[in-house]
């Protein structure tokens, strides 16, 4: 009995004071973060730090690049070299960073408006070139930071501050776009799939080439309340009910529609390999091609 107690006493302080192993990737002094309660961005950041930790990527080898918007603020929370750039230009900034310093493990972490509206052209060209980077898009279906306007991923019919009659544009299907443009890894999960997201991020970070992970996130403040989706937790429950895992399925059939009963296809759509921009360039520059 005494021995048992003693053991407990010895163990207890460690349990209560030990730092989470992934905390070293976070700028703790910057917390708490600015995101709304119920937002999925915190979960996505946690998954990414856990993925870095699992892969044992040294903090000093990582460069996190963000654009502008809610997700754009993510770069500021990573205790790595981190760059919060201009709206839409995270990918070309990251391209310069990677080409100038190929040893860096470059992650772009940004939102759907940033990466696919104002920055859409850069996304397809970086994918086409197969620049070695991991692009994580937290998709909340709207421009949250500016107050909830519709964006390039807003489902048809959804209400936003600039679509008061319902959104009459057609949204991008991001996995399909990424696959078509040449991404070597394409996955979609939601913030309900904490472990799946982390696994997808580990896969994406481990691959050499242009990898893409879409993470569907609740946005109770910007999108949810205008579309009667309830609190953040309700959106998560809805994901739980709607998501169907279809690994290897045709990303062209992974469109997201507004119907709250409609299926959302998640999973790993693409996992392939082809030489990166730098690999091919170096072959040509050495005259090997």
């Amino acid at each position: 009995m005494t021995t048992e107690l003693k053991q407990k006493e010895e163990v207890k302080p460690e349990l209560t004071t030990a730092e989470h192993p992934a905390t070293k990737y976070l700028r703790e002094e910057r917390l708490p973060h600015i995101w709304c309660s119920g937002c999925g961005l915190g979960s996505a950041v946690t998954s990414l730090t856990n993925a870095y930790e699992k892969l044992e990527i040294p903090v000093d080898d990582i460069g996190v690049v963000s654009g502008i918007g809610c997700a754009g603020r993510a770069a500021g929370y990573f205790e790595t070299d981190s760059y919060h750039t201009t709206h839409g230009r995270a990918i070309p900034f990251a391209t310069g960073l990677k080409l100038s310093n190929p040893e860096m493990n470059v992650t772009v972490f940004s939102g759907d408006g940033d990466l696919f509206a104002i920055g859409g052209n850069h996304f397809i060209h970086a994918a086409r070139r197969n620049v070695d980077m991991t692009v994580i898009c937290v998709n909340n279906y709207n421009y949250g930071m500016t107050g909830g306007q519709f964006g390039p991923t807003t489902p048809r019919g959804a209400t936003a501050t600039t679509s008061p009659y319902g959104n009459y544009e057609s949204p991008f299907n991001l996995p399909d776009l990424a696959a078509s443009a040449g991404a070597i890894y394409v996955a979609r999960w939601t913030t309900v799939h904490a472990r799946r997201i982390q696994q997808a991020m580990e896969d994406a970070l481990s691959k050499k080439g242009f990898s893409f992970v879409e993470i569907l996130s609740p946005c109770p403040t910007g999108y949810g309340r205008k579309n009667d989706l309830g609190e953040g937790i309700d959106e998560l429950k809805s994901y739980q009910n709607r998501c169907v895992i279809k690994h290897g399925s045709d990303p062209g059939e992974a469109e997201i529609v507004r119907d709250p009963e409609a299926e959302i296809v998640v999973g790993k759509f693409v996992d392939t390999d082809r030489p990166t921009y730098c690999d091919i360039a170096d072959e040509y520059l050495k005259g090997e091609k």
Binding site: D60, H84, T85, T86, I91, P92, G96, L97, L99, M104
Partner: protein, 381 residues
């Protein structure tokens, strides 16, 4: 071509090619650009030469991404540049602001053409001079050079890199189509190329603040992967680099962006003067218009007119102290520009009514005749 970064020797180069060679000589190892006339020869030369010296060339999808990649390249640890012309320069403006705000050394060459809009793609212009100072939103100091020959395209590109590293900011080479396409002798001499190294941290990562300035108001830069774990943002930020959105931080940060150029003006500003010892009338000129102004100056002197020239090597920051001094010496000042009146406003401001200031405008697409400038000089006597 040589595999050396600094090709010591004598060459017959056009201005664009000389600009590329100047960049390589200054240590540029990353170039990102997008084709646009009349700068394409810079990108073409870079695509050939950059791999030879172990650097990286990339042709981006537009000018927005070119300048963004250049900023990323610079933070990656390489001296970086891009080159463009008016329409591309306009597209770059937002990220030029990011470069200013994040104090990112890099060089942007603008080979100006007739403007606005698509304008005269293959013909000379100087219509972007004010844009170089005021193009991106907000307040920041600017350094811009105006070369007048292929030799100066080489020399001033080296200077531009050095000043960008010394003051940690994007620096402009404001050339034009004529200077870019003109072919002349260019002498490259490695022993004469002085390189300003990057201002690296001299303290441990724990003590390093990326935006804590030295006495000259300029901070130091830790490249990606060096263990300093910098955070770099276009938001108003404190010395640690973290967003801090209040008036005090805004004043300190933006005030310093202006002051680091303003208070170091004596080190930055360069002009050349000709005939100023006894000048009674003055031509203030820069870039291609200076070459025409030289013709007018010679004709004036032949006619016994005591003319002088102040030629702006740096157009920004504007040499207002010098112009003010000279404005007290002369009866009038003539400013020939290949635009409808841009730097003339600065000359008027600096001379503050001491002398009559007369613009000799040219809309672009061609050059002044020396006689036009001469007539304006005579009219002031």
């Amino acid at each position: 071509m040589s595999e050396k970064a600094i090709m010591t020797g004598k060459y017959f180069l056009n201005g664009d090619e000389a600009c590329a060679e100047g960049a390589l000589a200054a240590g540029c190892r990353f170039f990102a650009g997008y084709p646009i006339t009349p700068q394409s020869e810079i990108a073409e030369r870079m695509s050939k030469r950059m791999p030879e010296v172990g650097g990286r060339f990339i042709q981006m999808e537009d000018e927005l991404s070119s300048i963004a990649a250049v900023l990323g390249g610079s933070w990656g640890g390489s001296k970086s540049m891009t080159a463009t012309s008016g329409p591309g320069f306009s597209l770059m403006m937002e990220n030029i602001g990011l470069g200013m705000m994040t104090e990112t050394p890099c060089v942007i060459a603008n080979i100006q053409r007739g403007s606005p809009s698509t304008g005269l793609p293959t013909a000379v212009g100087q219509g972007d001079m004010m844009q170089a100072q005021w193009g991106s939103h907000g307040d920041y100091g600017v350094i811009a050079y105006a070369p007048t020959s292929p030799q100066e395209m080489f020399d001033f590109t080296v200077k531009a890199f050095n000043k960008s590293e010394q003051y940690m900011m994007p620096v402009f080479v404001m050339a034009d189509e004529k200077i870019g396409h003109m072919r002349e002798r260019v002498e490259i001499d490695e022993s004469r190329v002085k390189i300003h190294p990057r201002r690296k941290p001299e303290v441990d990562p724990d003590e390093f603040k990326p935006y804590e300035p030295d006495d000259d108001l300029v901070p130091r830069m830790a490249s990606a992967g060096e263990g300093y774990r910098v955070h770099v943002t276009g938001l108003t930020h404190n010395e640690q680099g973290y967003p801090q959105l209040d008036v005090k931080t805004q004043q300190e940060k933006v005030g310093r962006l202006v002051d680091k150029v303003k208070k170091n003006k004596d080190d930055i500003v360069e002009i050349d003067t000709i005939g100023m010892e006894d000048a009674e009338v003055l031509i203030v000129s820069y870039g291609m218009a200076f070459r025409t102004a030289m013709g007018a100056y010679k004709q004036a002197r032949e006619k016994g007119i005591k003319a002088g020239i102040v030629r702006l090597v740096t157009v920004w920051p504007f040499p207002e102290k010098k112009i003010k001094e000279f404005s007290k010496q002369v009866k009038g000042i003539v400013v020939p520009e290949i635009n409808l009146g841009q730097m003339v406003r600065e000359v008027e401001r600096a001379s503050a009514g001491n002398a009559e200031v007369k613009l000799v405008p040219h809309p672009g697409g061609g050059l002044h005749k020396p006689e036009q400038i001469l007539e304006s000089l005579e009219a002031l006597l």
